[in-house]
Structures are given as structure tokens and as C-alpha cells.
Symmetry: C2
């Protein structure tokens, strides 16, 4: 930008490369850094460098792990049920499921979802590694739970994986879609309501 001194223009440009950060936000962040202490700026810079140096990927589940820790803590834990693999799109999804304490199996992180519009096909995801786990496990894997996001890309990915994995594993399941707990039927969108009806279950009594 004209009139901007070089180091300021440079930081604005770098911030603008982050997702969801436009020029105005990048300017605001840059002037915040200018006003903040040098220690704060250095701490952010150091964390940025560290994350690239200290993060590795688990050779089994493809989730992120600290460099030098492979397999990751979950894959290395003998108390985790190796017969169930929960397939998710991102490392944050693992965190979300772990937070519930409901799942004691293992994970597989795809690092994305199939999205033809963005040019992302299955070969860009960690699908090969998943197939290898299921096929190579000598029948150990009994169930693959497809926990990709309930949106267009996530559904497409789930359908693709269900076709691919079907012949190799006893059960391929998909997480339920329906009304969120605490939600309101009146305000639910049509697709969610349809899914919620289709997924109805007998009330146990």
C-alpha cells in the first residue's frame, strides 16, 4: 500500500494470508502488534516457528503429535480399543470427541474432506493410510465410524469411504444427524428435520 513504511506493509501482507483475515483486519492486527510489547510479538513469532518444528504426524492415525512421539499417545495406549476406528477430518475433531469421553477406540485423521470445487480429491487426503490400517490389521478392525462433518464435503467423503471400506470391515457406520440437543424444532432447517425423522429410533421402555 502506498504511504506505508516497509515493515508495516509487510506484516499487513503476511496477516492477510491467514484465512478470514481481510486487509482491514490485517491492518488492525498489525497496529495492535505495533502497540503491544516486543515480548508479545516475539512470543507469537516463536510459537509460529515452533509449531512447524515441533509438530509431526502419527504414522498410524495421521493425527498431529509432538516431534519424536510416534505413534501418538492415543495409538500407543494399549487401553484404547483397536477394533474401532473413528475417521475425522481434522485434528480438532479428535479433540472434540475426546472431550466427550464417549469413545474409547482409535482415530484416523484425513486432514480434509473431498471437495471437487476446491480440487481436493481422495488422493489429497490420508485415505491410503486408512485402507492400509483396515486391510493390514488381520481382521482386527471391526468397525469404522465415519465422523466427517455433516456438510456437503463431509457427506461425500463418508459415502466415498463407505464404498471403499465396505468389503474390508464388518461394520462401517456414520454418526447420527438430527436435531442438536437443546435445539428447537421450530427453527431447525428442513434437511436436519428430514434427517432427524429418518434417523428415528424405537423408544426403549
Amino acid at each position: 500500500m502506498a504511504g506505508l513504511i516497509a515493515p508495516v506493509a509487510r506484516l499487513i501482507e503476511e496477516f492477510s494470508k491467514l484465512p478470514g483475515v481481510g486487509t482491514k483486519t490485517a491492518q488492525r492486527l498489525t497496529y495492535h502488534v505495533l502497540r503491544a510489547s516486543t515480548d508479545d510479538a516475539r512470543a507469537l513469532a516463536a510459537a509460529l516457528v515452533a509449531i512447524k518444528e515441533e509438530v509431526a504426524y502419527c504414522s498410524i492415525c495421521c493425527n498431529i503429535t509432538e516431534a519424536g512421539v510416534d505413534p501418538c499417545d492415543i495409538c500407543a495406549d494399549p487401553r484404547r480399543d483397536a477394533s474401532r476406528i473413528c475417521v475425522v477430518e481434522e485434528p480438532l475433531d479428535v479433540l472434540a470427541i475426546e472431550r466427550t469421553g464417549e469413545f474409547r477406540g482409535r482415530y484416523h485423521v484425513l486432514h480434509g474432506a473431498i471437495s471437487p470445487i476446491d480440487g481436493i480429491g481422495p488422493e489429497r487426503l490420508r485415505v491410503r493410510e486408512l485402507i492400509a490400517r483396515v486391510e493390514g490389521g488381520s481382521g482386527e478392525v471391526q468397525e469404522v465410524i465415519l465422523a466427517t462433518n455433516p456438510n456437503l464435503e463431509g457427506e461425500a467423503t463418508a459415502m466415498y469411504l463407505a464404498d471403499l471400506l465396505g468389503p474390508h470391515v464388518a461394520a462401517v457406520t456414520r454418526i447420527a444427524r438430527g436435531l442438536p440437543v437443546g435445539g428447537d424444532l421450530e427453527y431447525a432447517d428442513d434437511v436436519t428435520l428430514i434427517r432427524s425423522l429418518q434417523g428415528r429410533r424405537l423408544v426403549e421402555r
Copy 2:
């Protein structure tokens, strides 16, 4: 956060310190950096360090300037009218006014506005430097244009400065408040409409 590996937790924490960045956004930014190239992460880190090392403040107008360039380009430019000082809150405001090409005087950057609610009094702003310029200029400064933001803090700052500078300078002016060009009277808020009526001018013909 539980379950997060250290370098990831650390970058999320550092991103969260930025203004307008909550935990969810910080997580999104962090996973973006994880997926981005090491070069991109390093470039942002380097820009963060550089901005603290390569940016200084002009000893005259208090605007940012490249380290070693003091006074800044505008203050050093003999073609700029030294009899008019435009007072703004932030360096970005200088850019915005420069972009118009309408103002050929000099600037003074306060680095904030008076805001009792945030504990920011005039002593936290570059007010002393402004007084010194106006008083020390041997009558050189003819007009001080108060171009602080047209909000509560900016108006308070303008009123404070008008009182303070009045005795020392021929004219203290305030930028006009009214309907933005391209705006719509029907949708204007009441205060803007009142200001717009109060600021009416004879039509020249």
C-alpha cells in the same frame, strides 16, 4: 486445553491474544499454519519480529517511521505546509487522509483517544508533543485540524484539545460530520442527521 500437544496449544494461546480473535478463531488460524508451508509460517514470524525492530516514531509528529528515518518523510518534506497540523488518533488515519490527496499540511498522531472507561487520559496520548509543536513554532502553526474519530472518545479528545490549544493558535477546526457521500437519508442515524443539519452550508451559486 486438555489433549492438545504443547506447540499447538501455545500458538492457539498466542493467537488468542490478538484483538477480535477468540479461541475458535485462534484454533482455526493455528490449524491453518499447521497445514501451510514452513516458509509461510516463517515469513509471518519474521515480519512480526521485524516490525518491532524496524519501526520507530517520528520525533515531530509521533507517526510511525522506519528506524533511522527521523523526522518522517512527511515532516521532512519542505513542500508540506507547516502552518497546518491535522491531529489524528492512529497512523492508519494519516494513510486514509493522504489517500485523498486533499491535505498538504502536516500531521500529529495521538496514538489513541481519551477514554475514561478504559483508563486512558490525555497523559497516555501524545498531547504534550502537540502542545510543544504549537507553542514552540514561533507562531508558525496557523490552524490545528482535529480529525479524531466522530465517536464518543474522539469527540471528547477533540473537545479537550480545542480547549487546550485555543489560546495558542489562530484557528482550531474540527472535521465535518454529516451524511456520508453515497449514503441514504432514510437510513441515517439520528445523531448523524442532527449533525448534518447543524453543519449545513449556503449553496454557492
